[in-house]
């Protein structure tokens, strides 16, 4: 049984792809073009025709918004994690702000900041802020008291124990990464003149269906690739954590 399972892991996805290719090959439905068509359109569009015009702006906005969110979240989360009263005071405000469905904020962002790049960056940052913030607070609160006692006894500043919160902070950062992609797409669909999200919506409006699907496929690959990249970075930074909890 053990030897069968890894083979299955590779076979099943390939089989599904095969089924999709076969099923759509004979399709003449407008909405579901043959997989082969989608793949060739993908090749024409994204390798590497529209990388500069759409992929790069999308990625830049994504990165800027994400990093901004992480920086603010950690800076604000540390004092909130350390001080119970501040935490209690901020709790309902944080819970309310993070409960606002992000799309509802788009019109607000447009009104206040306009329809340019800063709007997209800011809204990505706003949405990505909360998971990292909450996880930073939880991470700081969860630092082993023995570790803090040790720092006190040896006259070492409290900040020396902060890396103990890193695993939790990274968990929050991972969640925020998915949110960043989602907000990037939505903001581009609603108010943009370039970007992958914009391209997908435009294609749909002009009934360029294989192009639309190619864009969707690209977004899937992007999401997967970013996640993979994140995992690689996390593995390196948190090597000590994995070792300690093996």
């Amino acid at each position: 049984m053990r030897r069968v399972a890894p083979v299955l892991e590779v076979l099943v996805p390939l089989a599904l792809l095969g089924v999709w290719a076969l099923w759509s090959a004979n399709s003449d439905t407008f909405y579901y073009p043959p997989l082969t068509d989608i793949l060739s359109t993908f090749n024409e569009t994204w390798v590497f025709e529209r990388v500069g015009s759409d992929v790069v702006p999308s990625l830049l906005r994504l990165t800027a918004g994400y990093l901004l969110a992480v920086a603010i979240a950690v800076l604000v989360g540390i004092p909130l994690g350390l001080n119970a009263t501040a935490r209690r005071a901020a709790a309902p405000i944080v819970e309310f702000l993070r409960a606002i469905p992000p799309p509802a904020l788009l019109p607000l962002a447009i009104v206040v900041v306009g329809v340019g790049n800063s709007m997209k960056v800011l809204i990505i940052a706003f949405v990505c802020l909360w998971p990292v913030l909450l996880n930073t607070i939880d991470g700081i609160r969860g630092i082993d008291p023995t570790l803090n006692d040790t720092a006190r006894v040896y006259g070492v500043s409290r900040f020396a124990t902060l890396p103990a919160a890193a695993p939790q902070i990274f968990a929050g950062m991972r969640t925020s990464l998915s949110l960043a992609v989602i907000m990037m797409v939505i903001s581009e669909m609603v108010a943009s003149t370039n970007g992958i999200g914009f391209f997908v919506l435009q294609s749909q409006r002009s009934f360029a269906i294989p192009e639309m699907w190619s864009g969707i496929l690209l977004l899937g690959i992007l999401g997967y690739a970013l996640n993979l990249l994140f995992t690689v970075v996390e593995r390196r930074v948190l090597a000590w954590h994995r070792g300690a909890h093996a």
Binding site: M1, V4, A5, P6, L8, E9, V10, L11, V12, P13, L16, Y31, T85, A86, R88, A89, A90, A91, P92, I93, E95, F96, L97, A99, I100, P101, P102, P103, A104, L105, L106, P107, L108, I110, V111, V112, S178, V181, I182, V185, I186, M189, V190, G197, V200, L201, S203, Q204, R205, I209, M212, G215, I216, L219, G220, G223, Y224, L226, N227
Partner: protein, 254 residues
Amino acid sequence: MKTWAPPTVAVLCVLALWELVVGIGLLNEDHVPPMTDTVAELANLLGDPDFWAAVGNTMQGWALGLGIAAVLAIPLGIVIGSSATAYRSVRFVVEFLRPIPSVALVPLAVLIYGVGLESKVFLAAFASFWPLFVQSLYGVHDVDPVATDTARSFGLGRLERLWRIKLPSAVPYIATGLRISSAVALILAVTAELVIGSAGLGRSINVARQSGAIELMYALIITTGLIGYLLNTLTSQAERRVLHWHPSQRQVAA
């Protein structure tokens, strides 16, 4: 008393700050209306039947989307999770499909279902399927092997083990999945309303912005926040109730 004071003070301070910042002109009144005007607008809305119709539309999309997702995701997750072979076959596909942003399917939804309720429900259901499915999957799969081995040594059959050991262990995971999926369903419902124009709060917010009724827009956004806050609170409480016996929730009696 002590626990209520800090948050109340904080909220009052934020509201006062808002009023002040707009009052002295630090924030443009065209961009951010005064706090008092917004609150007054919000109070007005409560008597407006169109407002409640929009709320109803959003909640309808949320409920149908979440409901369909739950009916599909939970049984599927449990069945696949309880078979080690099925789990391993499906895992790679799930990990690949999971990060795909559901918003990418908005144009597809429009093509297939048009601009009405069906599109909204499709998007909400598709997006909220994943957290519930994954949680159910992991919940059944990650059961403590000592517990299942003990059950097996007592002669419990496969189905009984599922019913008596694996399902109760999985319930907290599923409760967490419901909490996450509820938030996701709300987000996608509002997204559909905003981007596609289906009836609901999202569309009302957009319309308010386009016609320059800024206080209305802010009041509606605050409403969506309150709805989200309410749903989060309810699902979190339900989750905590169900989780209270779980090791992750235990606090050492100091």
